[in-house]
Subunit: 248 residues, 2 copies
Amino acid sequence: MFVRNKFVQKRVAFPEYEIIEAAYNPVDIAVKIVHDGRADILMKGNVQTGALIKSVLNKDYGIMKGKLLSHVLFVESPVFHKVFLVTDSAIVTNPDLLHKKAILESAVYALNSIGYKKPKVAVLTAVENVNPKMQETVDAAELKRLNDLGEIKNCIVEGPISTDLALDKEASKIKGFSSPVAGDPDILLMPNLVAGNIAVKIIRLLGQSTVAGLVLGAKAPIVLTSRSTSAKSKFLSIALSVAIANKE
Amino acid sequence: MFVRNKFVQKRVAFPEYEIIEAAYNPVDIAVKIVHDGRADILMKGNVQTGALIKSVLNKDYGIMKGKLLSHVLFVESPVFHKVFLVTDSAIVTNPDLLHKKAILESAVYALNSIGYKKPKVAVLTAVENVNPKMQETVDAAELKRLNDLGEIKNCIVEGPISTDLALDKEASKIKGFSSPVAGDPDILLMPNLVAGNIAVKIIRLLGQSTVAGLVLGAKAPIVLTSRSTSAKSKFLSIALSVAIANKE
């Protein structure tokens, strides 16, 4: 269904959809519809992302389920042998260990729900050893330990691991790094937002990859489209959201 | 010339080169040779990077010139219209504003020395606005201000700027972001080492780019080869070092 502001100038007929005319706060109305179980996906239209997130987080009619919202981007690269997922490149600015654990678990949950039994997670850093001056390496080792202990389930976590070892099995052989994740990851967990954001934009622009993104952590997948997102990418994001929503 | 440990097992004849047999500390001897002006480039062989850097930084016979060492990587992407340089993805772990200024100035100096009069610098962040919760955006705005004031010379600095606006002129038009740097950068200044490291490895592996790297800040360019570096990349790194060393 569409929720639209009744003052919207350009009217388009969608006879196959239910149209809800919203005099005020179309965002709140859309979130309430998901809250009431009348819709399975929330998708951002021509509204501010901040307003949407605020409504999602609202304690009365909001739709939070997990510990935090995070963004996952599915990537299909013309030169990599499988689709992988990158998280988080859009929402959690400076994640600490607990944030990273929640981000990781959301991505694993999404992949589990569409048929991946044990997705392989690469916790990306610049190096393979733990360096106390690089907090992301400490966090990566701890995430791997929690996975080994069974506190992070339904996945195989490797870290700290550098990007060449994560993406290139040959490089990991040369460096003597042995891991089922090396060269074959399903999830790239980024150390922080700015690294993730730069990475996914390079993947898209210089890596000429097809991407589809959605936001996890709410009762329904959220599609956050950007003005510069292609129609194909939007379509794939909706399709993935449908798959994940149906399995939840 | 080659400096080699006299205990090296595998001997190779290089009649056109001067060979220096070093019983101990071949690294120190090589650095001293550069220090004395008898060589124009320092290149790492089968020694530890840490030992090399330590010797370069030595106060008595070391070869530091700038404020700090930093790594620059020249990138030739099959889908971008020009070569650009990425810094720093290998040496300065958590750069503060002054470190970033020094990293930026080293890269500009290198490009100036090989003929770029006013290289265009994109100070990469995840967004275009200054956000106090994202220190890299604050630093980026300050670097741009210092450039406007003439305190960072011989270049055009833009920031904060996101990667899509830096690499894609169309995206910057859609978002109404006007800058000579948008879509046409010569230098991508990374917010920190881990973001830079992930970015350059993605550029190389998923972006299928040719890269050539060297270390700046010493009296001579330093070529730091890695075991997983291709012969072509090593060759280009040496060639660029020669060009930069000859112009200094």
